[in-house]
């Protein structure tokens, strides 16, 4: 499967100054965009949700879009980050930044654990194994009520005052909260951008393109997959941790397989294997859901229809289609 419209477009048009520049400064561009983004969204909490789910979809996209592995168990990675951050803040009184950091680590660690088992399989079986393992993780967190609050969810992940290098911010304030989250997201985008442009980024692409050839060239494909899965878990873990401090709760639904399905939907909608696609997918999905659910209780009909139409007519997703069009 191939989704590298974006990269192909770039290699095709190395001389096209504007595109090339946009491509090289994509992190900077997104930073500028995120600065004004809240003005385009009905309310700040939604803008924050879009950032968080965009980041979550970005992590998923690294595995599915760039490496070509479809996981139906990403909720476990997102949830691991969320719970790690929540538990550390609530039960161990750690500061918010430690929660974010360790949430990221927890996402990666969870990916490592699931990956050790799942990476032996591929294709549909990989999707199924990750689904099964994430369900096991769900039930473990569900049962560990002492730490996770079980079905009631983990409450009290309250972050009110934060200080960064002497700058004191009131995190409950919606505007502050948005920009703190946005800063984390830009950092993540920067990291992703570095990874994709790095030698390892080339290995990821090569592995997706042709596993047998990559192996014959001397790459340990299984380890490449595992490492990519862990990186993906790190991004998803950070997204989860941000959600924990944004909502100040960690619901058990975070771990539910529907949360895995959601991210597949967002990535598909935005355009798999593209840099900005996941964010566009998350934004379009959540905005539509917000608007439609104010208008009718039958918003799920709409969601389903968008999904089906997307698969049938825009398999490249929104951003993928745009890039394809530009390339032409």
């Amino acid at each position: 499967m191939t989704y590298t419209v974006e990269k192909a477009a770039m290699t095709r048009l190395p001389k096209d100054g504007l595109m090339d520049m946009a491509y090289r400064h994509r992190v900077l561009l997104s930073a500028v965009f995120l600065l004004v983004f809240p003005l385009l969204v009905p309310f700040k909490a939604l803008a924050v949700n879009i950032l968080i789910y965009g980041l979550y979809a970005l992590g998923f996209n690294l595995l599915f879009g760039y490496l070509g592995l479809l996981s139906f168990g990403h909720s476990a990675l997102f949830g691991a980050g969320s719970y790690a951050c929540g538990i550390l803040l609530v039960h161990y009184g750690m500061p918010w930044w430690a929660g974010l950091l360790l949430g990221t680590v927890a996402g990666g660690a969870m990916a490592g654990i699931i990956g050790m088992f799942a990476i032996r399989t591929s294709g549909i079986y990989f999707a199924m194994v990750t689904l099964a393992l994430s369900q096991c993780v769900y039930y473990i967190f569900y049962q560990a009520t002492g730490l996770t609050g079980g079905e009631n969810g983990l409450r009290g992940v309250n972050v009110s005052d934060i200080s960064i290098f002497g700058l004191h911010l009131y995190f409950v304030d919606p505007v502050t909260r948005y920009y703190v989250v946005a800063a984390c997201v830009i950092l993540a985008l920067f990291f992703l951008s570095r990874i994709l442009a790095s030698p390892f980024g080339a290995v990821i692409e090569a592995t997706r393109e042709n596993e047998a050839r990559a192996r014959a060239s001397g790459y340990d494909v299984r380890r490449v997959r595992l490492v990519t899965f862990i990186l993906s878990g790190g991004f998803c873990g950070l997204a989860g941790a941000l959600q924990a401090i944004h909502l100040s709760i960690v619901p058990i639904e975070t771990m539910h397989y529907e949360t895995s399905g959601l991210v597949v939907m967002m990535a598909l909608l935005g355009g798999m294997g593209t840099f900005f696609g996941p964010f566009i997918g998350a934004a379009v999905f959540l905005l539509l859901e917000n608007v439609v659910s104010l208008w009718t209780v039958h918003w799920q009909l709409f969601v389903g229809a968008v999904f089906v139409l997307c698969v049938l007519f825009f398999p490249r997703g929104i951003w993928g289609s745009v890039l394809h069009w530009v390339k032409k």
Partner: protein
């Protein structure tokens, strides 16, 4: 100024959209004014409890209508901002934040699940907004989750299970088996039953936990039959309860033991049919049939019937009426919507709005109220809404609640 107007109009249209989609109620847009008292109302309009949630909205509308007809707060009228929480705590928290930050609501009322109410409560207490929860939970009373801004109009599992237990253990025997959904709601109920059972020296033959959302109990029921209890106590909610009762009936268990449940849901009974529920005994916070004995219930039912084409309010629906009404009356008594003034006013209420006398206990803001013990009828005679018999009333008493100290509050 113009900016704010557009936002509020957009929101209003949104609210109206939800209302229209759930006709027959509509919101009076024409009278919308800047200074309205806004009440955020997150309930699960989509998903399996949609019917229940719609009834919650209806009942809340009754309270709003009554308040506005009585002249509001010195002419300041109230409005309801309904949001779909999708039965998902994350979504509920997002919606609660939206309602507070964007719509600048004055009060929050709502929720239909323990997890959602705890999520909403977490958001409201952090932002110092009064929240009246209208679904069951013991946890929300406890010191970790409670805040001065937290009120709990609904019953809690301890009260409900206690009332049902005291009734059932005295009548049907001492050998009990529990079949319980494995989450807070279920386990809190069992704790309540066991607590009540101490006084009757009940013998617990089995305490079986099933996963939430179970669709088949056939693998659990033969074992329960083999235990030969006097009473089977099924503590689960919604569809779990409907399926468990249906399958227990199929296995012929009603002939072998008495089946009790902490709560018999009105909508659940309608959805599952009379056969499954027949003869089962349980508790409820409200059943429209109490109107023969309680004047306030009669008035509430009549108003509800008038507004919604002869329908009667459900149990969880009526809680929404109580939840909205108490906060509005508190505001009226305080002469302000300032939470710091409204809280003491609500604490001071001794009210009888729809089900007999009630008041909020000071330490945990739990509404002290009666629990009705009901039995599901074989077949409704002429009125399809006539599904339960009221067989006893557990009168309101602070003694039926867990003590403030046990909840971690300073006495």
């Amino acid at each position: 100024m113009t900016d704010r107007m557009t936002i509020s109009r957009r929101r209003l249209l949104g609210t109206a959209g939800v209302a229209v989609a759930m006709s027959p109620f509509s919101i009076n847009i024409a009278r919308a004014q800047e200074a309205k008292i806004k009440i955020g109302f997150p309930v699960p309009l989509t998903g399996p409890y949609g019917t229940e949630a719609e009834d919650q909205v209806r009942a809340a509308q009754v309270a709003i209508a009554e308040f506005n007809e009585a002249g509001g707060l010195n002419g300041r009228l109230a409005e309801l901002l309904v949001r779909d929480d999708k039965l998902n705590p994350g979504e509920a928290a997002t919606r609660a934040i939206e309602l507070i930050e964007n719509d600048k609501i004055n009060f929050m009322v709502g929720s239909l699940s323990a997890a959602v109410q705890l999520a909403v409560n977490n958001v409201t207490k952090q932002r110092k907004v009064i929240f009246n929860s209208i679904s069951q939970s013991d946890t929300i009373n406890e010191v970790a989750d409670f805040s001065p801004y937290t009120f709990h109009e609904a019953l809690n599992p301890h009260m409900t299970a206690g009332a049902v237990g005291r009734y059932a253990f005295s009548k049907f025997g001492k050998k009990v088996v529990f079949l319980t959904a494995d989450y807070a709601y279920g386990t809190e109920m069992v704790t309540g039953f066991r607590e009540a059972g101490k006084a009757f020296n009940i013998e617990v033959l089995g305490d079986i936990r099933h996963p939430i959302g179970a669709t088949d109990f056939s693998t659990l029921l033969p074992r329960i039959q083999a235990m030969k209890p006097d009473i089977l106590c099924i503590s689960n909610f919604g569809r779990d309860q409907q399926i468990a009762l249906k399958q227990a009936t199929d296995f012929g268990m009603k002939k072998q033991m008495k089946i009790i449940a902490p709560i018999l849901l009105y909508t659940g009974r309608l959805a599952a049919g009379e056969a499954a529920f027949e003869g089962v005994i349980g508790g409820t916070s409200y059943y429209w049939g109490i109107e023969n004995k309680i004047a306030s219930a009669k008035a509430f039912n009549d108003r509800f019937r008038k507004m919604f084409g002869g329908k009667v309010p459900s149990d969880y629906g009526s809680l929404a009426y109580g939840g909205v009404k108490t906060l509005l009356m508190g505001a009226k008594n305080a002469g302000s919507v300032d939470p710091e003034k409204v809280i003491p006013a609500v604490e001071a209420l001794k009210y009888d709005y729809y089900k007999g006398p009630q008041f909020y206990r000071k330490c945990d803001h739990q509404s002290v109220q009666s629990v009705f013990i009901i039995e599901s009828k074989a077949a409704p005679k002429d009125n399809p809404a006539d599904v339960f018999n009221i067989i006893a009333t557990d009168e309101p008493a602070e003694a039926n609640l867990r003590s403030c100290e046990a909840l971690g509050h300073k006495a």
